[in-house]
Amino acid sequence: MKRDWKALLLRHETILLLVLIAEWVFFYYAGTSTNRRGVVVGFGTLDRQFDILRHSCEIGLLALALTPVIITAGIDLSVASLLGLCAILFGKFWHDAGLPIPVAIALTLVLGGLAGALNGTLITKLRLPPLIVTLGTYSLFRGLAEAITRGAVTYTDFPAGFLFLGQERWLGLPTQAWIFFAAAIAIWLLVHRTTFGRSFRAIGYSPEGARYAGLPVERRVALVYVLAGVIAAVAAIIYTARLGQAKADAGLGYELFAITAVVLGGTSIFGGAGSVHGTLLGVAAIAVLKNGLATLPVVMRMNAAEEMAGLLTGALLLVALTSSVIPKLLARWHTRPHVTVSPTLKPKSTA
């Protein structure tokens, strides 16, 4: 019984949750103040908490999309480029083709899925490495978005009803948070509660083994990329609604934030292991860090909140990845304090 408790405490997700709470408490105390006009401002305000949630939705969705992909030992570098392309397509459907918003959204989601299917087909039918395929579509999708707009057209003037999705609140929370939560629950159920989703881990751990076990590996891998495409399209719609504009640079660089969140959340980049709740914790840890930093007057005065956030996110990732190793290192240290041999680590034998 005691052993179980200790194992739970040392689990990656638990450590990450503690880090998240520590971050939150720290910023709550250091990042909240009263300004000249006597108004309470900073991290501790409800508005800021909603801002954090709002800013997390797009990267959070991409991270959700990437979790099954990475669990199957794949990678999708093209998700953020696809976000940009979908934003432009949606803008074009609505503005240039004059389609009603719901139809434009539906079409965008379908095209997002098709773009994901392109990734999936190239990976499974041609047996190309996912890294190479999605590196290609990473440039291809962004390039298409830029070509369609010639890098100059920006779609704006969206109706208020659509902007509600990204800028207002519904039932007390930012509207898009509901979509994000719904997607999170759906993907959690898929990955953790269905045999279909559990097979992702088997595929990621050993595709050959999964194949011998009778799993349709190719079809499932392809489906994971289609799902990623659809979710990237959802993120594109939310992004467009939040900013009130669709431009070819939408979501530039988001794929790296999303991958960081997934890895920070404990999903193995080699596949076979990982969890959706870990990813959510990873997204939250990065978002709180990034938005919290910006509320520290000290950081603000350096005029480099963005740069600081990048630096600390990197540090957080390295600390989180090494922290699962540190206890083992320390344990070695304590049990064999007089041994002079350098403590090289044994490779992990189980996933």
Partner: protein, 327 residues
């Protein structure tokens, strides 16, 4: 495990004490947002803003995207709202995109002012307008006439034949020409797509098609060095003069070589200076809607048209003064 926890605790305490150094500032905080913070144009705006902030005794925050990114501009404005600054001054990358965030700032009692590139009128109190189309058009035409002694043929390079601002400037140039300089003739108008290379080939073509051409005027910034290079390579330095709208830094070489006579732009430092003065006056309730003029420290009084504070006539950079400006 214990020492591991201790390590975390010490690190946390250290960080906490560092951040605790924040003192509730009694100074007014003015936040200044450029389109991109590494751009020499905005760095020189910042120099003027810093001067004004020092004179007024306010704290200046200067942050912006490293590239011209509308989404990042929004995030920075939202950060400033959270921090509870008093004034936000913005050069908008995207008119609509930024306006949502600016309206939110206004709702929280933050004064919003735009400069260089405006947001939606309801999302800010005033726009510090660096140059009216009329000011630009008239200054360029008058300078061309001065150089040619009011007579001769000249040609024009624009960015594109459809861009709204370019057409507006061209309209005022042609109006001034018709009104004041009957002996001058505009023989060609060619687009360069905002590319220096294209401007160069267009200028070369213009010179061979119009042997009596005396001057090339470019109303897009890459066109000025482009035309200068063409004139220089054709060996017509001095015979065909070059003027235009552009940055001093891009044209310094040609101005010193005598190829380009005049570069017209506004003083970016003054733009930053005036913006900060106006923003602070807004926060102190000294500048109100409907004001007709505004006094900004050592720069004197500026005219206000509607909700636009006018920086005034553009500034001409030439051999005598161009080395004083580093943007």
């Amino acid at each position: 495990m214990k020492s591991f926890l201790r390590l975390w605790l010490v690190a946390g305490l250290l960080l906490g004490s560092m951040a605790g150094a924040q003192a509730a500032s009694s100074k007014l905080i003015v936040a200044f947002l450029p389109k991109s913070k590494g751009n020499a144009y905005f760095i020189s705006c910042k120099a003027g803003a810093e001067k004004a902030a020092k004179e007024l005794g306010v704290e200046l925050l200067f942050d912006g995207p490293t590239d011209s990114n509308a989404a990042k501009q929004n995030e920075i404005v939202e950060n400033w709202i959270t921090l509870g600054v008093d004034v936000i001054a913005v050069a908008a990358e995207n008119r609509e995109g930024i306006s949502t965030a600016l309206r939110k700032a206004q709702k929280q009692g933050i004064k919003v002012i735009t400069y260089d590139a405006d947001a939606m009128p309801d999302a800010r109190s005033f726009f510090v307008n660096q140059a009216t189309p009329e000011g630009i058009g008239y200054t360029l035409m008058d300078e061309a006439a001065r150089l040619l002694n009011n007579e001769g043929e000249f040609a024009m390079i624009t960015a594109s034949l459809t861009a709204a601002n370019q057409r507006e400037w061209q309209k005022h140039i042609e109006a001034r020409l018709k009104e004041k300089y009957p002996k001058m003739k505009l023989v060609a108008v060619r687009p360069c797509d905002d590319l220096k290379d294209k401007a160069q080939s267009e200028a070369t073509a213009m010179m061979s098609a119009n042997p009596n051409l005396k001057l090339i005027m470019s109303i897009c910034s890459p066109g000025v060095p482009g035309a200068a290079e063409a004139v220089k390579q054709a060996g017509k330095t001095g015979k065909v003069k070059v003027i235009g709208l552009g940055l001093p830094s891009e044209n310094r070489r040609y101005v010193h070589e005598g190829v380009t006579d005049t570069v017209v732009l506004w003083k970016t430092e003054d733009l930053g200076y005036l913006t900060i003065y106006a923003g602070v006056a807004l926060a102190k309730d000294e500048l109100k809607k409907g004001a007709k003029s505004f006094k900004a420290g050592s720069l004197g009084t500026f005219e206000i048209q509607g909700d636009n504070i006018l920086l005034g006539k553009p500034f001409s950079f030439n051999k005598a003064n161009i080395d004083q400006f580093n943007f």
